[in-house]
Amino acid sequence: MLLIVKILLKEGRGLMLSLKNISKSYDGKKKAVNNLNLDVKEGEIIGFIGPNGAGKTTTIKMIAGILSPSQGEITINGVDIEKNAIRAKKNFTFVPDHPAIFDAIKGIDYLNFIADMYDISVEDRKQRIERYTKDFQIYSALGQTINSYSHGMKQKLLVSGALIPNPKLFILDEPMVGLDPQSAKILKDIMKEHCDRGGTVFFSSHVLEVVENLCHRVAIINRGNLVVCDTLENIKRNTDSTLEQIFLEMTKDE
């Protein structure tokens, strides 16, 4: 993994995501995210882990432009999301932790909606919709209204929708929740494939095994502070511990 990062850096690949001194407070007092700094290079898969309430979703929502940071600067592919939101948003797509979408429309309506928002041609959208929805085995349900879908089907629809624009940065919050093992495997393969094609993946998860097997680097957040962001090899250096043991050690109550 370290080798891959070194190669990426050597190749001079640009920064896909940069968080500089990011803080977020909902009440003006307590900081949900505190002075967070993080850089993600093109072609990387970054796993973002932390205990419940650590600030993962808040951070991801700030990256996705759903929340504004109280302090700091977020750039996506060199574009500041606060200053030039549209240009920044053209570089990424986002899958939230809970598939709360407007569900009175058909699955295909939703996918066409997303494709129109990112100006995807009819040929490209047809090819990508068919590919991803067939992979996730929801193609035959696309003509049904989303409110008839199960939780997992909605999640698969959201992931498929987020892949249609072929984003440079693919952001996912707890993507494995609600997915059956087969679909989880497909998603992992898609994430790898996306990365192989030069895309970048940034995702949060509680499933440490997935993070361990999939990511080039792992970022651990606890109580709003970034504890570590490094390759698994560096994090594990000089210890025989598993990621789980390291995670528990780094995030334990003092």
Binding site: I66, A100, F102, D103, I105, I108, M117, Y139, G143
Partner: protein, 534 residues
């Protein structure tokens, strides 16, 4: 019993906290002043009605009739308020899956849910029955006993309409299976309800403006109390209860207890079959549509999304599209009850006002419907979807406003066609009316979105909370009242200008207000829109 109390506490806390957050007094004093203003606006006509009713009945020696009449009025209002509320809270509520998994009886769930509606109805009673009780007690040089009896009467007043409404709804909903029929039933029921409410209001207005009729009714040999009582005996019991009659107290409470027992029996039988069946996704026939790939503009997709959000939900649909038929319904009811006729409306005496009448009729969709005030709220938790899209914040707001404008203009168009056919307006009147209507629609649709940006309220459990029990709508109505006052003032001051010039003046004022509100939305409040958190 402990489970019932815990669940009821939870339901009440949830309801009250959501309602308080719905009122959203984060604006500090301004918010509180607005709330008091709106409450006063609702309470004053009721106090006035009770007072004007008390005087003649007291003169005839039957002051207690005030209690009878206003109790009946309150029961009617509570009954019609409860019907859609019960449908919403039972059949469209998001917590039903959670509740149905708890180890509690069906009746516990039913009664705990009803407790939230009871609180709401008590507030409705407070606006109608409350002033009547207060006026009666004050004028009777009220003793402590009278006050206590009055309080008991007031507190128990929602039970009867609440139980009756539930008993009506549960069996009906049992037979309306399937999503589409449920929605259709809700829409048809609500249209009927709208017609009944308007009819009642018109009847009440006519009754109030006819003191001779009231006196004639009172002079009848049987006495009005018994006359009314024949149709609705609880009104006699509650009237006599306030006066200290033990038998009537027993009768009233006996009836309430009996109805509650019936409800408890029914809840056990019907809960699983009605409430649960409506929340089982599998029970709804899944229709398979075709798969297509078609490119459309961003504007088209966003407007379509906002329209679909409205029409896919009966509560939203009623509060946007169907509210437009209120003027037609009002006219229909008034026409068939003989209140107005086409001859009256086409009378030469009304000529100077005809342009105002036309403008008023066609502008009513924009005035009555406060669609922009809930345009963000309606999206609920799916609001994040448009927030992450590569569209500007201005466009995100703009297409919500455009959707409101399109819906309002559609309503105006229908009303314009109907009124032109029926009322023979001249071309100049039509043009002036359209000018005023368009400028007013632009202004109101834009200013209302500011309210929603300021108070987005995305976290709601049932759709009624999003659009009906939403303070945003009240604030938007307050804006309309203030605007109406301004228009009236200008009409008085600049009366000499004549109706046509006045209409042009009003249109110009609305346009100026539109440009000011547009500037505020897209330059000032856009930052607040960006910061709406989900």
């Amino acid at each position: 019993m402990n489970k019932f109390i815990s669940l009821t506490k939870l339901q009440l806390k949830d309801f009250i906290s959501r309602y308080v957050s719905g009122l959203n007094l984060r604006g500090g004093n301004i918010g509180k002043i607005l709330l008091i203003f709106v409450a006063a606006m609702l309470l004053l006509p009721s106090i006035q009605l009770s007072q004007s009713l008390y005087t003649p009945v007291a003169m005839l020696g039957y002051p207690q009739l005030l209690i009878t009449f206003m109790y009946i009025a309150a029961v009617m209002a509570m009954l019609f308020t409860a019907l859609p509320f019960i449908i919403s809270i039972f059949f469209y509520s998001k917590d039903i899956t959670f509740l149905s998994s708890l180890p509690i009886t069906e009746s516990t769930i039913v009664f705990s849910k009803l407790s939230a509606i009871y609180i709401y109805l008590l507030a409705v009673s407070g606006f109608i029955f409350g002033p009547a009780l207060a006026i009666y007690i004050i004028n009777s040089n009220g003793s402590l006993l009278l006050f206590i009896l009055g309080m008991i009467t007031f507190i128990t007043s929602p039970i009867l309409p609440l139980v009756i409404a539930t008993i009506i709804i549960l069996p009906i909903m049992r037979f309306i299976s399937g999503s589409k029929r449920r929605n259709l039933f809700s829409i048809l029921g609500s249209i009927l309800l709208l017609a009944v409410i308007i009819g009642l209001q018109l009847a009440l207005t006519r009754f109030q403006s006819d003191p001779e009729g009231i006196q004639q009714l009172l002079a009848q040999s049987d006495g009005i109390l018994n006359l009314v009582g024949k149709g609705f005996p609880p009104s006699i019991w509650i009237t006599n209860m306030v006066q200290g009659s033990m038998i009537d107290t027993l009768l009233f409470f006996g009836l309430n207890i009996l109805l509650i027992l019936i409800l408890q029996f029914l809840s056990k039988v019907l809960y699983r079959k009605a409430m649960l069946s409506f929340n089982q996704q599998g029970s709804i026939g899944i229709k398979q549509g075709s798969i297509y790939y078609k490119k459309r503009s961003i504007g088209y997709q966003l407007i379509r999304r906002h329209i679909l959000i409205i029409i896919s939900n009966p509560t939203f649909f009623l509060n946007t599209f169907l509210i437009m038929i209120v003027p037609i319904l009002m006219f229909g009811i008034m026409y068939f009850t003989g209140e107005v006729s086409l001859q009256t409306l086409n009378s030469p005496l009304l000529d100077p006002y005809r342009v105002f009448i036309f403008a008023g009729i066609i502008s009513s969709p924009a005035i009555i419907g406060s669609n922009s005030a809930t345009a963000i709220t309606r999206e609920g938790k799916s609001f994040w979807e448009t927030k992450i899209l590569p569209i500007s914040l201005q466009d995100n707001i703009k297409y919500r406003v455009i959707t409101t404008i399109m819906i309002s203009i559609l309503g105006s168009l229908i009303l314009a066609i109907v009124s032109i056919i029926l009322l023979n307006f001249s071309l100049i009147q039509v043009l002036l009316g359209i000018m005023a209507c368009v400028s007013l629609t632009l202004f109101l649709s834009t200013i209302d979105i500011i309210i929603n940006i300021y108070r987005p309220m995305l976290d709601w459990t049932h759709p009624t909370a999003a659009v009906k029990n939403n303070m945003n709508v009240m604030i938007s109505l307050a804006i309309r009242v203030a605007l109406g006052g301004l228009v009236y003032l200008i009409a008085i001051i600049a009366k000499a200008l004549g109706s046509s010039s006045l209409m042009i003046l009003f249109s110009c004022i609305f346009l100026v207000l539109f440009f000011i509100s547009r500037y505020l939305v897209y330059k000032v409040f856009v930052k607040m829109f960006r910061d709406i958190s989900i």
